[in-house]
């Protein structure tokens, strides 16, 4: 099945996320599996203020791209197609922000069964 990265953008810093949102994150892989997909990997990021960026020789503090909604996490899912991936990504718990779904390069396409 094709693989997609789901990039999670959130305005609320991770330490301030309500408990029910944290719980929903924990429950997400199970929900994705129940909907016929699979979560392959997940990364939760420390706040953007903790980031250090390198551009050429230049070191700067902070994230590479400044946005109101910080990149807060990335997870990788397997889905049948984009519509399925979008349906799975929609289940992501978000307080204030949204997600971006990106296909991964070099995925294999399910053969017709």
């Amino acid at each position: 099945m094709p693989q997609y990265a789901v990039l999670l953008y959130e305005r609320v810093p991770p330490e301030e996320l309500p408990q029910e949102v944290m719980d929903a994150h924990m429950a997400l892989p199970g929900k994705i599996r129940a909907a016929g997909g699979r979560e392959i990997a997940g990364l939760a990021l420390q706040p953007a203020a903790t980031a250090t960026s390198i551009r050429g020789e230049l070191l700067t503090d902070g994230p590479f791209i400044e946005t109101k909604e910080e990149l807060a996490g990335v997870f990788v899912i397997e889905a049948r197609d984009l519509d399925h991936a979008l349906a799975l990504a929609r289940m992501t718990p978000i307080v204030e922000g949204g997600v971006e779904v990106r296909p991964l390069l070099g995925f294999e396409v399910a053969e017709e069964g």
Binding site: P2, R80, D81, D83, A85, P103, V109
Partner: protein, 437 residues
Amino acid sequence: MSGEVAAAVAEAHRREWAFVLAATVRVTRDLDAAEESVQDAYVSALTAWARDGVPARPGAWLTTAARRNALNALQRGSTLRAKLPLLIEPAGEESLGGGLGPGGDGASGGAEYDAADAIPDDRLRLVFVCCHPALAREAQVALTLRLVCGVATPDVAHAFLVSEPTMAARITRAKKKIAAAGIPYAVPAAEELPQRLDAALTVVHLLSATGHTAPSGERLVREELADRALDLARTLHALLPAEHEAAGLLALLLCHHARRATRTDAAGRLTRLEQQDRSRWDQAEIAEADRLIVAALRAGPAGRFTLQAAIASLHAHAPSHAETDWPQILELYDALLRVWPSPVVALNRAVALAAVEGPAAGLTAVEAIERDGRLAGYRYLPSTKADLLSRLGRHAEAADAYRAALALTDNGPEQEFLAARAEELRGRGPLSRGERP
């Protein structure tokens, strides 16, 4: 004879392209490879039909030829396959288009195929791929024209006033995204269908609108584009007979089409609705639209295309501009604004309001829309305001508003119309202030 064959191939291109391409995509699962195979099939039709005669079912002949080309290319190990992932055809959905069979709407057929060979009508899949919300609207429109209507890329570029390389790049990018992101070659699931259909209908409506008022150039009506949009609306309605908004869009486009001959005068100048010769409107098309509208309205709460069609139909039936049923049109606009709160709808509602309650009420509404700011740069805002101001006798302000509208349009006939109106009012300018009610 060769002229007849060329005409038959051209006709088959217009009527059958989408059917042939959609059926071939199923073999290639690659849009580019399918397009190439279909192009080749049309080229070979020119010689084969001249030799053997035009087949009884050109669509079936072309589909067979295109699929054979595609299979041959696959056997030759065409390199196209290696570059991008194949289109995803969800398993278990094979039957979706199958029930329609070849010639589901009578446009094409395949009596010579037995059941095992039957070519399912995949045109809906093609439409929904082209109009997928993961593609930008301009990409949706370009892809629909290129892939569903079979319009050549240079002509698509011309229709949207961009250079050929720009349009070619736009179409290529969109095709890449379809493959790379895994946009499925499928009709959306029932729960998603209304929203996805709305996107597809919006694209068809946009094509029609572009056809009727080309954003620039000398000809007000780009007949080809408007005709393609009407064909497409007809196809969508035939393939999705239970979807009332598809019927609504077809009815709306029929109402526009019925008035086409009178939108410009003999010299190609724009004529206003009140000046159009209503006896030249196509009554058969208006009657067809009415049947669709009545059925759609009976079926439940009307959607935005059905409501717009109902408004267009009331205009079409009015014996004159003055005798138009403006109170009912105003009611329909109120309903339309509820399902589709767009400032353009609000502006049209203001025109109806002016017809019911007088130009002062209309002007108040237009000024409110102006303050809202979302229609800045929309040429029909100042031209509507100008018309209302001139009816209130505020000629100098009206002339200014016409000039503001003039600055916002590149369409030749529209420019002439607005300039003439501004000029006409300029002579009466000094009176305006004193006449203000």
